[in-house]
């Protein structure tokens, strides 16, 4: 009996996160193959206007839970509402992006539902027996495990950039359903006092299509400006290796590697990064890797698709000029 694939859509200030659109695109394909209904579930306040975007992104049905108490994400309120909705609707699978919210919400939701959770998956396949199977990196990508579950619903969070968001189809229509937010008082125990979003015109590291990253070879925090200039020409995020973070040149939130962020962009440009095993674990699944390093023996050359042996302080500004030419063409 088809009961649907739920995508928990994440929005901030009424902007739908890219990973949610990626999941709707992939969910659409699986729904078509299995005859399931693809359902987009959105929580927030004043979110009605998002329904058509979600229909265009592939949803057959959009469930809106619109309430002032859901304006900002809090673990308790979101768990309360989703637990009840999922128990009522009994979907086959519930998918969400592996974002800060996804990571905080899904373990609590999974436990309340009494189910497992495949977190931070980088692969998802339709399966005859288990409906879906998941591939997820362990040891920060030094190995993979493949998970399935016979318990319903199947819960999983998917890493951003795992699937491609297809172009929206404005002609698509979806059934739109509004559900009331039924929040248990016990789930309103945490009080959100303040939200501070750093003003940055650059994409978030975990969602970026292109990342320009600098390591020990940057020699100091002041030199990151040349990476930022390069990044801004091509709309990239800026990252750093553990060596650079441990030296205090960049904050930990920029760290790529086993004790930082694990990323999978289309293009990763490593500048002055030697390629320590724990760094490679964090970026080794990038589609294309470019490195610029003055040491031709550096390990990073063993994984890079294209490498330049040279002084990054000379090469990076020249590359910025070349990228500008390409962008202006």
């Amino acid at each position: 009996m088809a009961k649907g694939i739920f995508i928990i859509v994440e929005q901030r200030d009424l902007q739908i996160r890219k990973v949610s659109l990626e999941l709707l695109s992939q969910g659409r394909k699986i729904a078509d193959e299995t005859g399931e209904t693809l359902v987009a579930v959105v929580l927030g306040n004043g979110i009605e206007g998002l329904a058509q975007t979600l229909a265009a992104a592939g949803a057959d049905k959009v469930i809106l839970i619109d309430d002032a108490k859901l304006a900002d994400y809090t673990t308790g309120a979101y768990t309360s509402v989703l637990n009840k909705l999922i128990r009522k609707e009994e979907p086959q699978a519930v998918l969400m992006g592996n974002t800060a919210i996804g990571k905080d919400l899904t373990p609590r939701l999974a436990h309340r539902l009494g189910v497992g959770l495949a977190s931070d998956c980088t692969g998802m396949e339709k399966d005859e027996k288990s409906f879906l199977t998941f591939k997820r990196p362990i040891y920060a990508g030094k190995a993979f495990e493949y998970l399935s579950s016979n318990v319903r619903p199947i819960l999983a969070t998917i890493r951003p950039n795992t699937f491609k968001a297809e172009d929206p189809d404005a002609s698509r229509q979806a059934e739109i359903v509004k559900e009331a937010a039924d929040i248990d008082a016990a789930d309103l125990r945490a009080i959100l006092k303040e939200v501070a979003i750093a003003a940055s015109k650059r994409p978030d590291l975990t969602e970026a299509n292109i990342i320009v990253s600098g390591g020990r070879g940057m020699k100091g925090p002041e030199n990151y400006v040349i990476l930022e200039e390069l990044a801004d020409v091509i709309g990239a995020a800026v990252g750093a290796s553990r060596a650079a973070v441990d030296s205090g040149w960049k904050e930990h939130k920029f760290q790529v590697g086993q004790t930082g962020k694990t990323v999978a962009p289309t293009l990763y440009i490593a500048c002055g990064i030697s390629g320590a095993i724990q760094h490679l674990a964090g970026m080794g699944s990038s589609k294309f890797i470019v490195c610029i390093n003055k040491d031709p023996e550096a390990n990073i050359f063993n994984v890079a698709d294209y490498g330049i042996v040279g002084d990054l302080f000379e090469v990076v500004p020249l590359l910025t000029q070349e990228f500008k030419k390409l962008v202006n063409e």
Binding site: A100, P107, L147, E194, T206
Partner: protein, 257 residues
């Protein structure tokens, strides 16, 4: 203040991963460490005790080798430890581990429970939040700063692209992100003292649980290793020429720009 810190022993970050004859992760000869994020939790627990009084108990799950990680925590300044060790936990998933951990924690007095935000081995980032759900207490994930005022905890947590400040009443579960503090190294005196500190090893039976109670919800069907990347090509020439060629290749060959 009764402070509990959940820790996990993991492979060293430098460890190479290989599969054994049965296709599982081979732990033979691998150097083991305290999960790096758990060190921030231990340090925060000790600092809270130093400031507010009370004691710090480490709770962990694992085989006999996990005692090494626990002794390190005790040497840092933790007062006592409980290790749940049972062969039935070998195929545990996060649901199972959280259920067992919650049972062990619920036998202890607690005001605050700290853990790392993620373990670098399975990378699942689930246990802390699941534990809070079972104990029916609030949780704050991935904290960078913590203030305790009486029974109120106020924490700054990392979110995508920024931070948020959350206030909860204790007891609560808090998971530590790098940046929360700088973990101390155990002193020689601390290492000596740690040998005499109580470390209780218990089994599922001691918790009134049996293997049947904790059948995992998720099945691991198999493991694999990543396909080794091939070294690509080094672009020759002077810097200007190489930069121009690289830009061309990225556009025309890789088609990523």
């Amino acid at each position: 203040m009764n402070i509990i810190v959940y820790i996990k022993q993991t492979f060293d970050t430098e460890a190479k991963i290989v599969l054994d004859g049965s296709g599982k992760i081979d732990a033979n000869g691998v150097n083991l460490i305290i999960n790096p994020y758990d060190e921030f939790a231990i340090e925060e627990g000790i600092r809270l005790k130093e400031k507010l009084g009370g004691d710090v108990t480490v709770v962990s799950m694992g085989g006999a080798r996990a005692q090494e990680a626990i002794r390190t925590a005790l040497a840092m300044g933790v007062d006592k430890a409980v290790l749940v060790s049972d062969p039935a936990l070998e195929n545990a998933d996060e649901w199972t581990n959280a259920e067992v951990l919650a049972k062990a924690v619920s036998q202890l007095p607690y005001d605050i429970i700290l853990a790392g935000r993620i373990a670098i081995d399975d990378g699942a980032s689930q246990i802390g939040v699941r534990l809070a759900e079972i104990l029916n207490v609030p949780s704050i994930s991935s904290i960078l700063k913590l203030d305790i005022d009486g029974t109120q905890a106020t924490a700054t947590r990392e979110i995508d692209g920024g931070t948020e400040v959350i206030e909860v009443s204790l007891p609560a579960v808090l998971t530590a992100q790098k940046g929360l503090n700088e973990p101390r190294y155990p002193s020689v005196a601390g290492i000596m003292k740690a040998k005499k500190k109580p470390l209780k090893t218990i089994t599922l039976a001691d918790l009134g649980m049996s293997a049947g109670d904790i059948a995992p919800k998720m099945n691991v069907d198999k493991y694999s290793l990543p396909v080794a990347r091939q070294a690509g090509r080094v672009i020759p020439g002077e810097a200007a020429q190489a930069a121009q060629e690289l830009a061309r290749l990225l556009r025309e060959e890789a088609k990523v720009l």
